[in-house]
Amino acid sequence: MLLTIENLRKSYGTPDGSVQAVVDVPVFSLDTAQQTALCGTSGSGKTTFLNLIAGILKPDAGRIELDGCAISDASEAGRDRLRARTIGYIFQTFNLLQGYTCIENVLLGMSFGPGADRRRARGLLERVGLGQRLDHFPRQLSTGQQQRVAVARALANRPKLVLADEPTGNLDPASAAESLGLIHETCLENGAALLLVSHDREVLGQFDNVRDLAEINRAAACPSAGEARS
């Protein structure tokens, strides 16, 4: 197993002083190179769930093991290191750095992990069809092109797991389909597992393995769960 999760819990304090569970996942797993989509509505705790897997957030309880490392028990620096070497993250808003060119954004994806490899960065951008846009800044690209840079960056550090949080949420249907295909293909080519969350039925329809987050996350089943956090 690439990823195993047991009794994972994450709660947040609310303005009225109470504590609200956002993630409560008794068990979840993902196999190496497996591609899974999680169906989650707004407020189902999907971003928090992905951030916990990525080590951006530390769980209140439970265990996350990624590629043999207990990310839930690791120090913050340890989680940073694991994220830099093992995980690629595609955000809904792409989160490209505006002051960096396409190739610099992709190079950044490697910098904190295996180290910058310009040839690989160029190769990835060519793969996603941006070979002629290496030195363009994000603002000089269309939304679909920015998404493709984000895909290339997520794969830059040769991750074992790619997390995608509503990756097509900002794209028109045609671009979304194209982008999704690209994510599928490039993850397969790079041997990376893919865990994608979306509420879009068209997107979910392109996956063989689709799971409802409400079934995995007990906190999401509660009507008020995670309203403050999507």
Binding site: T47, N51, I56, L57, R83, N95, G99, Y100, S111, A116
Partner: protein, 398 residues
Amino acid sequence: MSLLQIVLRSLRQHLLSTGITAFSIALASGLLMSVWVVKDQARENFTGVDSGFDGVFGARGSKLQLVLNSIFHLEASPGNLSWEQYELIAADRRIASAVPIAVGDNFRGYRLVGVTTNLFGIEYREGKKYAVRDGYLFNPERKQAVVGSFAAERLKWKVGDTFRPYHGLIFDENKQHPDEYVVSGIMEPSNTPADRVIWIPITGLQNMAGHDAETATDVSAVLVKLRGTSGMMMNQEINLQGNVMTFAWPIAQIMGQLFNKIAPVEMVLRAVALLVALVAAGSILASIYNSMNERRREIAILRALGARRSTIFAVVVLEASGIAALGAVAGFGVYFVIMSIAAWFIRKETGIVLNPLELQPVMAWAPLAMLGLGALAGLVPAAKAYRTDVAENLTPIS
């Protein structure tokens, strides 16, 4: 990408604020170096210039005024000595050589000094004598002048030009003498106050039309080289026991006293320069700190890509240091501009030559201090960046 490349990208991204902040650092660094160098070189030059003489005899009065008047050609003369007094001084066996000078006229602010030709036999610096570059030395019997290099350059004079001096040490166009002098020679630059003097025969100045005939043989001062170590004895004899003349000796010590008197002013100048440096470092802090809010998302993205808190901290500190380093390098340009203007002005007013290119310790420690202050200033925004919450800041700021 290396840490350094990330820092460079960040500096590039905030080019305007980087440029403005670096410029303020450059001004501070340049000012700091200039204040120190002007002060040190001025003291060194003013106390090091004695024009080859050990002491100066003059009318009873201030030793400092006497030295400023006769060696630096500044200030008014404290009074005159008679020609007989000069002859007594010159005849004293403790005196190796004596050169009388007379002052009281100028040409457009450049002082005319009447002197005997023995001045040109004196070594104003070891192995260096005043020399004529173009033309020849004045004939003591004629109305001829040898012009210091700086004065000649400023007045655009060449050999053969003629001029009519003005009465007094301060230029007043209504007080022109009828006597016409010819420029017989232009002196080699000596980098001493002599460069801004128009030298004429002493009898010429004494007998200039309009001068008091009764004082026609008086001299303003007598510059002397002593034989052996007789200065202390002469000081006792002339200054403490006598009441006729003043013996300004040793010249360097008298000038040193002047600098000691203005030491508090120097300290204030230095304090102001240091404060400017602190303010400039504060501008780095303010500039980066203020940009932190808009950079929270950028920092969160870097963290999401695997950058550690310590990496982000280092990036911000290095960025501050980078701005300080840019400023420190540009500070040499600012220093050179300030020093060139200061050196030109000081040379014009005093004849003392400052060398902006002479290496001084401040040229090492001031840029390093700015670098250190810059890094320190970066600590506060770096701490803010260090604390940035990743999950909270990954979404766009609307």
